[in-house]
Amino acid sequence: MAASPAPSTVHRAAIRVDGEQCRCEGDWTLDGIEALDAQPHGIRWPAGAARLDGSGIQAIDTTGALRLLSIVADLEQAGQPVRLVSLREEHQALLDLVRERRASAGAVPPPPAARGALERLGRRVGSHARHALEFLAFIGEAAIALGRLALHPGRFRWRALFGNIETAGVNALPIIALLSFVMGVVIAYQGGQQLKFYGANIFIVELVSLTMLRELAPLITAIIVAGRTGSSYTAQIGTMRITEEVDALRTIGIPPMDLLVLPKLLALTVALPLLTVFADALSVFGGMVMARTMLDVSFSDFLDRFPRVVTPTSFLLGIGKTPVFAAIIALVGCYQGFQVRGGADSVGRHTTVSVVQSIFLVIAADALFSIILGGVGLWR
């Protein structure tokens, strides 16, 4: 069998004081010195003793050497200069190596001091302002790239576009279907309770259809897509930045904007309205199911009333907002991806920021739409 010092044969490092004799004993290794940590202050160092005998050291590694040197340094500081003597040749060599390496590395500077509250606040405000400006610049760059594309439509990357439509649109159908159906059920259930109380069961059609088509379906779809697709845009571009793939694209002469941003932006502007139409249908269907089971409004009653109360304007106003949502999600996702610097933790941080910001901006934009559309009298 191969020879090896099994962990069970570790001899604890110790300093033994015997009269005026001070001796190091045991293994001065990482395993051996764990026990020593409590000891040195407990040693009563004999006054006048100036030699520490190292001949009893059985094994030493760099950690043990560091410990031994720091004990000697501590004693020296306490006005008790000590000389290490009688070390084995190879132990002495290791001790010298450690001493020499530490000296050549220089003094260890203290970690940078923590910043004051005011400074932190200032830095945060500054960085947020800078990011807002950079984001605006990014939108501008994307617009310019889009304009260039309009002049040379032959250069457009169709494959990337269709690939993105598939991953962001087609693959999202099941989750959108499930969630919007459930939303329709929930809204019909909650509203239905009140309508039943007044005997106004048939108004469930207005309630479900208008709520869903005007507000909830576009919003829910945008939020799901922000979490599902916006985050993947950030993670993909961020990882490509770390592995220098983005730089490789530039070097080959492919503007990253053209390959990584525009197809995503256009794909999402196509996919999100379509997904929203799908969500509209499924959520109204959810409401129909609930209307029949709870309010005795049959499918045919529901569908008979539906076109009379839901104007095309309501439907189009709901859908009309979604390209804006899509642009927000795609631009925020890509922008955050390009902000990634350094390593893995940065990808995680920016992915989180991307999702939070795009959902925030989508809801803010939705509120703005409500105010503007209300202002011009487009209530229905």
Binding site: A2, E34, T62, T63, L66, R101, A105, P111, D345, S346
Partner: protein, 264 residues
């Protein structure tokens, strides 16, 4: 278990190893012994399975067949507790450094110490600073994040982390790849010096012919899914095997040999 005799002072004993990814067999019936205190390099053409062999030895990859002994302990199919104890006794320098990007260099070096010892935080910081110095970095490197370091400094910081637990066995995956000749030479010297004073056993994967000539005791040549040559550099370059000849007889191989012979 003994398929053949073990050398008395072997730290690593590989017998009949087979590794494969799906249907692709990387190693078949591979034997290798590494003795205490040796610096051994694994060489071979691209795709000959050098890094795969290293990963099998450090328990990152499960072999399909065969046995691997580390410090006399069979590692194929051992439990997590035994594996944890063994992991304390070797250090690994990954090709890209693999430093944790959210931690400073000092914190990176402290991770194994915090995980495997019960030393105080202050003591651990001191030890980490020593390892940083041993790896040849200036003291202020400890406060830096990995992304703030140059390639050469990154390798040294990764070496500092590999040395954190004063391992008896050190694995290096392409330690000098991507370094300038001066840094690469200094790195070789550093490894040799650490081996000398700490009694380390070093196993490295490298393509660096200068490193092979100047820093290794023996070189294992991987090809045809096994070790086809295992000898000190001077003997290995005399080997008859066509793969070995092709590897060392190129203009670079010859230049490095002339250099090494002149230096002697």
């Amino acid at each position: 278990m003994a398929l053949s005799t073990h050398p008395a002072d072997a730290v690593i004993v590989v017998r009949g190893l087979r590794t494969q990814f799906g249907a692709t067999v990387i190693h078949e019936n591979l034997d290798l012994d590494i003795r205490r205190g040796e610096i051994v390099a694994l060489v071979g053409g691209s795709g000959s399975g050098k890094t795969t062999l290293l990963r099998a030895i450090i328990m990152l990859l499960k072999p399909a067949a065969g046995s691997i002994e580390l410090f006399g302990q069979e590692i194929v199919g051992i439990g997590e507790t035994t594996a944890f104890r063994l992991r304390r006794r070797f250090g690994m320098l990954f090709q890209q450094g693999a430093l944790f990007s959210s931690l400073t260099v000092r914190e990176n070096v402290a991770v194994p110490l915090r995980e495997h010892t019960r030393l105080s935080a202050r003591r651990i910081a001191d030890i980490a600073d020593l390892k940083i110095a041993l790896a040849g970095l200036p003291a202020d490197a400890g406060n830096k994040l990995p992304r703030e370091l140059s390639g050469g400094m990154l390798k040294r910081a990764a070496l500092a982390r590999a040395l954190a637990l004063d391992p008896a066995l050190l694995f290096l995956d392409e330690p000098t790849a991507g370094l300038d000749p001066v840094s690469a030479g200094a790195f070789d010297e550093l490894v040799a010096q650490l081996k000398e004073s700490l009694g380390l056993t070093v196993v490295m994967v490298t393509h660096d012919l200068d490193t092979l000539w100047s820093a290794t005791d023996r070189v294992a040549f991987l090809g045809e899914q096994r070790v086809i040559g295992y000898a000190p550099m001077r003997e290995l370059t005399q080997a008859e095997h066509p793969l070995i000849r092709a590897y060392f007889e190129g203009p670079r191989g010859r230049a490095a040999r002339e250099q090494a012979c002149k230096a002697r």
